[in-house]
């Protein structure tokens, strides 16, 4: 009897083995060995990470993954995407299923300290907002007492919502769903009066409603939502790579290096530019990747400004202004340490 059970167990394990991937502890070696970066993204949030009909992903969060791939392999296409729900995202990272989580995830203290995660920077400063139908005649979040509010469960949004209504002595009926698409559908069907999530998300979601023009985002921002890429704790090298890919994109914008002029910039004599593009020093080597890492990132993905404009900026349907996401030199919060 035992042998049969054993053979069954082995059989299951063998079937399982077909889809299993073994890896060593160092994420970089592992990534290099398998030849691509496994990147956890959302299940579809226009402008941040969304697939088109052909299954190609694009968005601000996706471009960060492409940047990491460009830095490691010199090829921004060496990425595979795992669409994850809010529930799955941390386990996927903790268990090693993905190498980097770039899924509009809010940096909070508990996530940083209790879940074994490291936030590698902030690629979008966001804040939670509210969207309502224009026909309700509401123009401030403070008029929302008694409303039904649609919210995705298990997010910081859900907690902020509670806190905000409590602080302002208002009541509400929560209508919660596991998946973003279901929240969208419920709001669109008028199951609730208000939709709350990060403001960037609201603009993105509004595009997907049946009548985008009939909805408006209220001016209040009720929370700080610094969104950024996340890696596992305990692998400083990989942490540094993801962190510096983001910083390189910021520094490039600051120095005026774009994907178009990066080849000309290779001839620049500005020591800052030379250090960044690998003409001087060995910054890539110290990360364990090629010295032309930043060149590849900028050439294939672009600087932060380009990425922002391409995915969520004024030229896109989302039409989000830079606001606090402008460079520090232009009055925003995006500030990268120097490459030196």
């Amino acid at each position: 009897m035992k042998k049969e059970i054993l053979s069954a167990v082995v059989g299951v394990a063998a079937v399982a083995g077909l889809g299993a991937a073994a890896a060593s502890a160092a994420t970089l070696d592992d990534v290099k060995a398998k030849g691509f970066v496994q990147c956890g993204v959302s299940t579809g949030l226009a402008g941040f990470s969304a697939p088109n009909d052909a299954g190609d992903w694009s968005g601000l969060d996706v471009d960060l993954c492409r940047g990491v791939a460009a830095a490691v392999f010199g090829d921004a296409k060496a990425v595979k995407y795992s669409p994850l729900s809010a529930k799955e995202r941390f386990t996927a990272l903790q268990s090693g299923e993905i190498d980097v989580l770039s899924r509009n995830t809010t940096w909070t203290m508990s996530r940083d300290t209790q879940l074994g995660l490291n936030f590698a920077g902030v690629n979008y400063y966001d804040g939670q907002g509210f969207m309502v139908r224009k026909s309700l005649g509401v123009n401030s979040a403070l008029q929302l007492s008694g409303a039904s509010v649609c919210v995705q469960t298990g997010t910081t949004t859900e907690l902020n919502l509670t806190d905000y209504f409590k602080a302002n002595d208002m009541t509400y009926n929560p209508v919660v769903f596991e998946k973003l698409e279901e929240v969208n559908a419920a709001y669109d069907a008028n199951r609730c009066d208000v939709y709350t999530t990060d403001q960037s998300g609201l603009y993105s979601i509004r595009l997907g409603l049946s009548a985008p023009d009939e909805h408006m985002v209220l001016p209040e921002v009720i929370s700080k939502e610094p969104l950024g890429p996340v890696v596992r704790q305990g692998d400083d090298q990989w942490f540094a790579i993801v962190k510096w890919v983001h910083f390189a994109m910021l520094n490039a914008e600051e120095m005026g290096i774009t994907s178009e002029n990066v080849d000309e910039m290779m001839n620049s004599t500005d020591p800052n530019v030379m250090r960044m593009l690998g003409k001087e020093g060995a910054f890539g080597d110290s990360l364990g990747i090629g010295n032309d890492w930043a060149y590849n990132v900028i050439k294939q993905v672009g600087n932060y400004g380009e990425v922002f404009e391409r995915n969520v900026g004024a030229s896109t349907q989302l039409n989000i202004s830079r606001g606090v996401n402008a460079l520090w030199s232009k009055g925003g919060l995006q500030y990268a340490p120097p490459i030196r």
Binding site: K3, E4, K87, Q114, G146, G154, E158
Partner: protein, 405 residues
């Protein structure tokens, strides 16, 4: 059916060599060895799983343990039958979820049983139209996934109802009945001072009814005289509380729902998520119960009916006194598993946003990140519910089982 054989052949190879002398072929020794190896394999798997989990959590610096249950939850839940605010603990949130699951399961079981019995009897009706109608009902609902039915009720039926505002309900006016996409609104009965007397009267009547039933049965056994227990009981049940209602000065009032601001307020509201879940669960499970009932009744030999008729018992009484009691013995065991299925299926609530146990623990999981603890405890609760229901139904089954004399 050669498949399994092939399988058996491959796995049994080596176990059936000839020769009986060796100790290996002593069945007792072999049994012992097999079992010892099984323990080792299972323990090994469990051990490696646990150490892996422990290592993974340790390395990642994830906190583990059930301490988080005492922390403040900080989120709201749309429907709860026990007191809950966002200041309550995760543990309390967990019980809210459990309560919601139990409520929908119990009400669902009630409706599923009623509908199931009606449809099951209808399938055996001599009336062609009724019979075919019941057959179509059963065949359609049984062969469509429950999840699809739930989503259909929720998204294609209840969600596309207009909102209270769009229905043109006057703000502030009192509404006795309204079905809109925010729920089903009915008046709520508000007890005032003295209302408890009505409740007590009703309970007392129930007790009297029960005692009366016992007495009547005893008397019928002894003397053969019948007593109209049901009519008397029902009469008392209606008259006495009504009397108490008037005597105490009509302490009940109705509170109507009305539109205020965004939503309907006051009144008694059944939320669309709950309604969709209840509709889906009851109608789906009823289609299975109908088949069980049908099979149970068909299992009673036709001779029983004929014998009853020969004794001059009318058809209605024959069903009640002869057929149904015997059919129940066949019906109850599969009925139990349907009740269990319904309870387990109520976990599909998570797809339509009803805050049942799975949905609430899902939120807890997200907020705390304690995947292992939260999922294990959820499974444990369902397992306990299943075992308890089984135990109860086994007991009940034993009490109606045929006593061979």
């Amino acid at each position: 059916m050669g498949t399994d054989m092939a399988h058996q052949e491959s796995v049994s190879a080596g176990a059936d060599d000839s020769g009986r002398a060796s100790l290996i072929y002593d069945p007792r020794v072999r049994g012992f060895v097999f079992q010892a190896l099984l323990i080792i394999v299972v323990a090994g798997l469990v051990w490696s799983g646990l150490t892996n989990a422990h290592d993974n959590l340790q390395r990642a610096g994830i906190a583990s343990g059930f301490g988080f249950f005492k922390e403040r939850a900080g989120f709201d839940i749309g429907q709860s039958f026990i007191h809950y605010t966002n200041d309550s603990t995760y543990l309390r949130a967990f019980f809210v979820g459990l309560g919601n699951t139990l409520v929908v399961a119990v009400i669902g079981i009630f409706f599923a049983t009623v509908i199931g019995f009606i449809v099951g009897l209808a399938r055996l009706s001599k009336n062609y139209l009724v019979r075919k109608f019941a057959t179509v009902y059963v065949e359609t609902l049984r062969n469509i996934p429950l999840l699809l039915q739930l989503l259909f009720w929720y998204k294609a039926v209840l969600s596309i109802l207009p909102s209270p505002r769009a229905m043109g309900i006057e703000p502030g006016s009192e509404i006795a009945f309204s079905l809109n996409n925010r729920g089903l609104y009915l008046p709520r009965i508000v007890p005032e001072a003295g209302a408890s007397l009505i409740l007590f009267t009703a309970i007392a009547v129930l007790a009297v009814w029960f005692v009366l039933g016992r007495w009547a049965k005893k008397r019928q056994m002894a003397t053969g005289q019948q007593f109209p227990v049901f009519v008397t009981g029902l009469g008392l049940f209606i008259v006495l509380p009504l009397l108490a209602f008037f005597v105490t000065g009509m302490p009940l009032s109705l509170e109507y729902a009305s539109l205020q601001g965004f939503n309907m307020v006051n009144g008694w509201v059944i939320q669309p998520e709950f309604m969709a879940l209840l509709l889906g669960l009851s109608l789906y499970t009823a289609s299975f119960i109908a088949e069980i009932v049908r099979a149970g009744i068909l299992a009673v030999s036709h001779g029983q009916t004929e014998a009853a008729y020969a004794l001059g018992i009318r058809p209605n009484l024959t069903s009640r006194l002869v057929i149904v009691p015997q059919a129940m013995r066949v019906i109850i065991p599969p009925l139990t598993s349907q009740y269990l299925n319904l309870t387990k299926n109520s976990s599909l609530a998570v797809a339509i946003g009803y805050p049942d146990l799975v949905s609430v623990t899902g939120t807890v999981l997200n907020q705390t990140g304690q995947a292992v603890e939260v999922i294990s405890i959820t499974m444990l609760v369902y397992l306990t519910l299943s075992l308890l229901t089984s135990a109860f139904m086994n007991w009940f089954n034993a009490s109606v089982a045929l006593v061979e004399r």
